[in-house]
Amino acid sequence: MLTRLGPPLAILLLAGPIVAGLAGTVLPALGYFPTLGGFSFSLAPFAAVLAEPGIAMSVAISLGTGLAATAISLGAVMLFVAGWSGTRIFARIQHLISPLLSVPHAAVAFGLAFLIAPSGMLARIVSPTLTGWDQPPDVLIVHDPAGLTMTAGLIVKEIPFLLLIALAALPQTNPVRTRALAASLGYGQVAGFLHGTWPPLYRQIRLAVFAVIAFSTSVVDVAQILGPTTPAPLAVRLIEWMRDPDLSMRFLASAGALLQLGVTALAIVIWIGLERISSVMCRQIRDTGWRFRGDAWLRGAALAAVTLAAFAVFAGLATLALWSVAGLWQYPDALPDWLTLKTWMKSLPRVAGPLGTTVAVATLSTLIAVALSLLSLLREDETGRRGGRGALMLLYLPLIVPQVAFLFGLQLLLILAGAAASLPSLVFAHLVFVMPYVFLSLSDPWRAYDRRYEAVAAGLGKRRWTVFFRVKLPMLARPVLTAAAVGFAVSVGLYLPTVLIGAGRLETITTEAVALASGGNRRIIGVYAFLQMVLPALGFLVAIFGPALIFRHRRAMRA
């Protein structure tokens, strides 16, 4: 039976590359890799990493920015949900923020850079009237040595992610009843939420929070666009070593990748410590019976934080789009003198190849991910057993293990197998990251499906696959297409897997855009970043309007 293959195949394709990749990283890190002339185990590569200048600073930046980004975005989301869930403003902001999830990190980072740089949009709007600046002030905002801008870039992107994850889990915690109960006991809205709803809610989103920590402590593209350069965060330096034409640098790079694994693990351990401390503090506050009724200022602050984050992303993206069609645009003019399609015309011939690769890889990896998810869910229907905690951990594995740690080894193995920089390799590398999002997005609506429809259809004498294709799949067309759009967006935005597995020969819009970062040509960056956000948006348009059009005469099929 075909469905029987679903779960094992999914496990193989998720865990296989991670395990093999980690092995391929560990061996050279310990000095063993015969093809590169390493025949004996030694700790020399680690010693070499630790001897690199500024390595302690790089580690500190990775840890600090990652933890700060996670803590601030989670705090904002927590207080926002606490103070506003169930209100009309909440629903409106939720609608506003949802599309941001699909915008690739790199595009968001570019948008932020174009917005807050000394020569950016904000400075232009207030200059020279308020500031008197005739030329950009000489301050380091983007690439600031402490990584503040990089942290901000991560925060504005992680807020939508954590908010949507929290919203998906919220109904299971009975927030309405808990809110009413806490209010009847005289608790303010925020305090009632933090004592009553947050603990069970946090338990449900904890893996997603770990994924944010892992991503933020090991991010490469955002760090290259916004992060410090002297020294750069650890992951960025790893990539530089990795790309060094001197192959013996591979030992150093692999040892560095393991150091990255340790840094991310340490960040998660620190986070778990923080969880303990805050839970003790929370309990002590609870035992005092403090009602915290005057929480209006905090609710206001949370609303402001989330709105500001959304505004920053939207304004940044608009600025990007404007730059891509800008003619002469002198500082400190707030708008270009004229608009032109010249940059687009000039870039299009160069864009075509990467655009094709992007669409091909995203489409193929998404199709495979959707098929595997459907098979696994069908198998779940058959056996009546859901994948338990183990399955959930497995799904989150690619999101919690830092990408560099296993992609290095995977690249090395693929090179040995002669399969690096091939389209199939790239598709399967993307699949590792696309699959979790597709499955997580599809599984809830799938499990919520009224299975009596299937019983009715079977009672009419229909075979299982007839029931699946004629009844269940059409009825779930919208969630399936939405999951596909999510997968497509994830693939379009993937930077590191594409750079490493594509090995510079398979370029996508995202790798090209990040590569342009150092050049600083805002018009061309605008073109690439604009395409980066348009592609996922197209996917979601299809997912929303496709079913709406096909089922336009079927009232019950409207969402």
Partner: protein
């Protein structure tokens, strides 16, 4: 012809070792066997067991025969059990006639022959000419009648009714009962009805099994 009808041969259904119901009974063609019990008593699992879609969480023993053929080992689609639930469960992505056409066995060939069957079925439940409509625009009573017509079109060998009248208005409920039981009698179908409504049981007029909540 003693074998005619539905035979529940020492059927027993349990959840985690606790027996929910045990039944050993024959239901003749056109007869109604009513199972009564409060909600949560597991009475619907009997229908799921007969129909072949019992959740794997339950364990069941015993056999089911229809007209002498054993059903117990068969897949749901090979049992030809027409099922009506509390909700009409018309497929929301199909028109009314597509819902009905979906039920006609593939052995009926030819577009026009199938269309004629659909039209006839609509007439039989007083909905002639409604084929092109969106099922969601029908009234509750109309939906219930389409659901019945759909079941009957598939050539069922029995009817399994899971509180099919409980969501209808009192007036409609009486009509719907009449329609379902008349059709079942006319087509000589054995019926198993699960309900918590005494009036349903009375109208059915057949044997009654009461499940206590223990």
């Amino acid at each position: 012809m003693t074998e005619q009808g539905l035979h529940l041969d020492h059927v027993s259904i349990a959840l985690k070792g606790k027996t929910l119901l045990s039944v050993d009974r024959r239901v003749g063609p056109g007869e109604v066997f009513t199972v009564m019990g409060p909600s949560g008593s597991g009475k619907s699992t009997l229908l799921a067991f007969i129909g072949g879609f019992l959740d794997p969480a339950f364990s069941a023993s015993g056999k089911v025969f229809i007209d002498g053929d054993e059903l117990t080992g068969l897949a749901a689609q090979d049992r030809h059990a027409g099922i009506l639930f509390q909700d009409p469960l018309l497929f929301p992505h199909m028109s009314v006639s597509a819902n009905l056409a979906f039920a006609i066995p593939a052995s009926v060939k030819g577009r026009s022959a199938r269309a004629a069957l659909v039209e006839k079925a609509l007439e039989d439940v007083g909905l002639a000419g409604s084929g092109a409509r969106d099922p969601d625009t029908l009234s509750g009573g109309e939906k219930a009648r389409v659901a019945l017509a759909r079941s009957l079109l598939s050539g069922p060998r029995m009817l399994l009714l899971d509180e099919p009248f409980s969501k209808l208005d009192a007036g409609l409920r009486e009509q719907a009962r009449q329609l379902v039981f008349d059709k079942a009698r006319a087509m000589h179908l054995p019926v198993v009805l699960v309900t918590h409504d005494e009036a349903d049981a009375e109208a059915a007029g057949g044997a009654i099994l009461r499940i206590d909540d223990c």
